[in-house]
């Protein structure tokens, strides 16, 4: 059987898998009865409904004709990888990773990290511009979040600020 709509087929598959997993997970909690619902009742019910809906979406994707096959298309790996790693780098620089012995480097270092890596996601990377942007964003964030809003951030690396 040919898949008539790739997008629908895989989204249906996703719904079914996620729904079934939730339903399976819910059985490990007490389900209870309609009058006295346990913590597993509602998630089990919803999980089953989601799995059925997903199956219906998949079925439709196999049966209903679409003009172009509704292909998912290429994944944009470059922006995906750079944006997500920029975000992760921000977390590592800001708070450190105690489990791996990486010290916290603070907000300013984190801003430089996230801005530079995120900029790599674009088509047009100009180092000088990105550095200027990092400086502007650092000063702006420091004023807005630390001075004005008084949010609790480690601003400088722990080995300097102590």
């Amino acid at each position: 059987m040919l898949i008539k709509s790739q997008k629908d087929f895989f989204s249906g598959l996703m719904f079914t898998v996620v729904g079934a997993s939730f339903a399976y997970g819910a059985t490990s909690y007490s389900v209870g009865s309609g009058g006295r619902m346990g913590p597993g009742y509602f998630p089990l019910l919803l999980g089953v409904i989601l799995a059925i809906l997903g199956a219906a979406v998949m079925f439709k994707a196999l049966v209903v004709e679409t003009p172009d096959g509704e292909k998912i298309g290429k994944w944009a790996w470059k922006p995906l990888v750079f944006i997500i790693s920029a975000n992760l780098l921000f977390g590592i620089l800001l708070g450190g990773l105690p489990s791996m012995g990486i010290p916290a480097m603070g907000l300013i270092a984190a801003i430089f990290g996230i801005t530079i890596v995120a900029s790599l996601a674009g088509d047009d990377f100009r180092l000088k511009e990105v550095l200027v942007l990092s400086v502007v964003l650092s000063i702006g964030s420091y004023l807005a979040f630390i001075v004005l809003l008084k949010l609790q951030f480690p601003v400088w690396p722990t080995f300097i600020a102590g």
């Binding site: 913590p39 219906a56 979406v57 708070g95 088509d123 008084k150």
Partner: protein, 503 residues
């Protein structure tokens, strides 16, 4: 009149120096993100939520509300001058607005959008003030069964009126409901689906979901598309004033747009986007006068009607939130979160327990609309400059603000790892062609639905018929069923698909 006393109280609250400043900041930010394509009110409000911790609740809500309706004003500027919707609700404004700009009539187009929005905003605020009190009365008659049915109606309404596949939208709601259940169950104290991760026992933060899916997901999608050639009318926009002829055409369109927008805003699932679509469709059906340009070639009605409608809709969509505590769209779902952060349980009791918040928010909307006209018409030059800022400077800043916002909710890096995961999921949703807005609605309503279902079933001793034997509950469910049947009718189904393809 009680209404006037209440409004007087509201204006008293809204006219304090602090609240005026926050209303202004909200409107300014709203216009800013409205003008900038690629960032919407959902991501912005999510980003700023943590920053409002330190503020008093009234000021926080006034500012966040300002972002939402401010974005409706700003979006039209980009639509008219750049041929890109700055905001999703300005999609239809692009059609005639850009044509007007190309013919050198950008000024009147901007004025039509701004003045129409202002009028609609005033009417929307009045409707909100007038209807809130009686609706709240009704809401007090609601028991758990009614609330459960109301949420069903709300969720069904949200998908019926949204674009795209109905089945997938319903599935997204259920997925959202399930994700909302992650964390400690309030009744039994059992930590559900937390995989023994301590941070997950508090549940997934909705800021994390909103930011990951709406913020990161969309940035990745924007970057994956090649740079479009933007033709920006940076030249001076001259002569803002529409001609007498323009006014004659505009006024009935503004009136129609306002009416449609106000009505659709109240409906669950409604709000700014749908209102704009419906208003444009109706204008197109109305006969052209002699000497009027056809639609699609720069008809001023094609700008005035949808812009009035989206602004009216964005005001009246506060009605279900403030009276029933049920969010009709994703932005309102975030407002629920904002209220909970400040220890205000959304629902009918807000009006009696926090009258200064309730009426202050309403009054601030009118003031905000006035500020927006001033911000958007005389100061238009400033926003035009902003449009020339390249995206490669903007998106790293957006990524940074998302990350800072996420971290500051709990001062915990765990949220940053989570938002990375939801960023990937958000991009996957875009690739699979599923809309994320219903997910967020379901996520917010999940715990509420479970709680009301449990209570209703406990009271009925496990008898499911309670939902159809109580008249109010039964009529709410019937309304939901009717909505579903209507969209599944072949004639309506085709029309619905047609309406959303047209852009």
């Amino acid at each position: 009149m009680e209404l006037f006393d209440n409004l007087a109280l509201g204006f008293g609250v809204a006219f304090t120096f602090q609240n005026l400043i926050y209303a202004f900041i909200g409107c300014l930010l709203g216009t800013l993100i409205g003008v900038l394509p690629g960032i919407g009110p959902v991501a912005t409000i999510a980003m700023l939520l943590p920053a409002t911790y330190a503020l008093p609740p009234v000021a926080a809500l006034i500012m966040l509300a300002g972002i939402y309706y401010g974005a409706q004003y700003g979006g039209s500027t980009t639509a008219i001058l750049v041929n890109l919707p700055g905001e999703s609700s300005s999609v239809v404004t692009v059609i005639d607005g850009y044509q007007m700009a190309r013919k050198g009539r950008a000024g009147p187009a901007l004025a039509a959008a701004g003045l129409g929005s202002f009028f609609a905003g005033c009417v929307g605020t009045l409707i909100l003030a007038a209807f809130a009190a009686p609706l709240t009365e009704v809401a007090f008659k609601f028991g758990p069964a009614e609330y459960f049915s109301l949420m069903i109606l709300g969720l069904i309404g949200a998908v019926v009126l949204a674009s795209g596949s109905l089945l997938k939208a319903v599935a997204m709601i259920v997925l959202g409901l399930l994700m909302g259940l992650v964390g400690t169950d309030v009744n039994s104290g059992v930590a559900r689906f937390s995989f023994d991760i301590p941070e997950l026992t508090d549940g997934i933060g909705f800021i994390v979901i909103a930011m990951g899916v709406f913020g990161y997901g969309e940035i990745i999608q924007n970057l994956s598309q090649p740079d479009e050639d933007r033709e920006v009318f940076t030249g001076k926009v001259q002569g803002l004033m529409p001609t007498k002829e323009d006014f004659k055409n505009m006024i009935p369109a503004v009136l129609r747009g306002t009416t449609i927008g106000s009505l659709l805003g109240i409906l669950p699932g409604g709000g700014a986007l749908l209102a704009a679509f419906a208003a444009y469709t109706i204008e197109k059906k109305t006969k052209l006068k002699k000497g009027e340009l056809p639609f699609g070639q720069g008809n001023i009605r094609g700008v005035a009607a949808p812009e009035s409608a989206n602004n009216a809709g964005s005001q009246t969509s506060f009605i279900p939130l403030l009276t029933l505590g049920i969010p009709p769209n994703a932005v309102m779902a975030l407002m629920v979160g904002a209220m909970t952060i400040h220890n205000i349980q959304p629902g009918p009791q807000v009006m009696t327990s926090n009258p200064e918040l309730f009426w202050g928010l309403i009054a601030s909307m009118w003031i905000g609309n006035l500020m927006l006209v001033i911000l958007n018409l005389p100061l238009i030059g400033m926003w035009i400059k902003l449009l020339t800022v390249p995206y490669r400077w903007l998106f790293p800043a957006i990524v940074l603000f998302c990350a800072i916002g996420v971290y500051s909710t709990n001062n915990n890096t765990f949220d940053i790892w989570m938002v990375a995961g939801f960023g990937v999921i958000g991009y996957m949703f875009i690739k699979l062609g599923v809309e994320p807005a219903p997910l967020l609605l379901g996520f917010i309503l999940g715990p509420m639905m479970e709680e009301n279902l449990r209570r209703a079933m406990l009271l009925s001793r496990g008898d499911w018929s309670v939902f159809v034997t109580r008249p109010l509950s039964a009529s709410l469910l019937a309304a939901a069923a009717v909505l579903l049947i209507i969209v599944l009718l072949p004639a309506v189904k085709n029309k619905r698909e047609e309406a959303f393809v047209e852009d």
